[in-house]
Amino acid sequence: MTLSVGPQHPGSGHFRLIITVDGDIIVKAEPDPGYVHRGEEKMAEVRNYIQNIPHIERPSIIDASGILYPYVLAVEDLLGKSAPERAQYIRMIMAELNRITSHLYFLSIFGIFLGHSTMFMWPMGDREVFIDLSQMIGGTRITFSHFVPGGVRSDAPDSFADKAEKTCDYFEGRLKEYERIFVNNPLCHQRTVGVGVLTKEDAIKLGVVGPSLRASGVKSDTRRDEPYDAYDKVDFEVPVYSEGDSYARLRVHFDEMRQSMSIIRQCIKQMPKGPVKQKLPPQLRPPAGEAYARTEAARGAMAYYIVSDGGNYPYRLKMNVASFRNLIAIPYLLKGVHLADMPTVYWGLDYWPVEADK
């Protein structure tokens, strides 16, 4: 029997899965994305480098700083400039705050896909706390447009350090509760352990990125592999699990949130005083050439490939987003999985269709 899951289906987000089931087992799954395709790459060719910022972060407003970060780095690479040190730390704080909110969103949807509505509500509620925190720097709830080539738009207020410290303290306690209540119970184990196993070899072969990759035992994190901004000055661990199943993916998200909080704390301590924005001309005209910048966003390695012809507009801008790279793993993992596990397996891969469709 062939089932069309989505685009209007509680278990699919913004995309469609055409799955063939034999009894309760999925024998074939074919993703049908494109329901949110908005032509960002073409639009970027008719906007200048600053005008591109707001629409580029829209595909992933769940992790707005994460998707903007490599764009800014790529433009800086083309210009041959870099951000002042304080701006680098503020960028890192924003990126990590967004990582936490994005992971909390991941957790809540994971919960609803497991049939656990409390697991939807609690992380949603705690996400607001971090949104408040990033609102102090960014100014709006989720779409900040805060990073610009050559720095950030605005400095962090003085009260930020205190509030961040308090929030992190609060949230560490909450994380323990989450683990105790949602993860370490037999029902959750039964639904996730050994389900949708992505082996290390396959993860490498399919070029999976982000938490799914680390859950499969590959210790790869762009922040470590190719440290950008001040990531080489902070101390953090890359969580790795070797099982590669849904449970490992869930655990990676928990561990990453802890590491992010530790990075935020270190950044606040190490952050120097100084300007947050380099003086650049209002109309950026990078010299002809090309740049490929990548960062580790919440959902995995995010990369931009920009070709410049020396004009006001990018000649070609390619968004190589994490979700689109994980799309290939969906049909691969869903084969042989129970129908009931279909939403958790595909969501566990951190596939966010809006981001993948661009």
Binding site: P7, H14, V36, R38, H55, I61, G125, I142
Partner: protein, 179 residues
């Protein structure tokens, strides 16, 4: 049929009396039921769905107004919230979802993109406003709108429903299509 003018007046009066005694109170009751029981369709068209999720989260809690969080089947839903950009691929689906919902149904257009195309006004694949395919009751500006704005839109919709006239449900047969 009624030739006599007096009889016509009498029938008209009787109709008025019935409308006054039964119709209007019933209308009020049904509308009151409708405004506190708006169940949204689970249709996400783009990124505004995050803010809708946040709005049904604990801090904003749409269930105070009787709006359930993500609800399963569209056959039981009253409210279509178009959550963000509608592109050319999803537009026929939005219309199909709208057609399959039972009357009375209401549409909220959420976010600049679904109101007018917004940031994507010059994109080749984006509809310039969802109101070209479904009738919209309330528009929420913002990119994305804050959860408070969603709540405000709900209250505006409630005020609109309050003024509506009750029409009895009718039985229709529609063709279901499995896409």
């Amino acid at each position: 049929m009624v030739k006599s003018g007096a009889l016509a007046i009498l029938v008209g009066r009787l109709n008025d009396v019935l409308q006054y005694a039964v119709g209007e109170p019933l209308n009020y009751l049904v509308n009151w039921g409708r405004i506190y029981s708006l169940w949204p369709v689970h249709l996400e068209t783009a990124c505004c769905s995050i803010e809708f999720g946040a709005a049904s989260g604990p801090r904003y809690d749409l269930e105070r107004y009787g709006v359930l969080e993500a609800f399963g089947s569209l056959r039981q839903c009253d409210l279509l919230i178009v959550q963000g950009t509608v592109n050319r691929k999803v537009a026929p689906r939005v219309r199909m979802v709208y057609d399959q919902m039972p009357d009375p149904k209401y549409v909220i257009s959420m976010g600049a993109c679904s109101n007018t195309g917004g940031l994507y006004f010059d994109s080749y694949n984006v509809l310039k406003g969802v109101d070209s395919i479904v009738p919209v009751d309330v528009y929420i500006p913002g990119c994305p709108p804050r959860p408070e704005a969603i709540i405000q839109a709900l209250i505006m919709l409630q005020n609109k429903i309050k003024k509506q006239k009750f029409a009895p449900p009718e039985l229709k047969q529609i063709e279901t299509k499995v896409a």
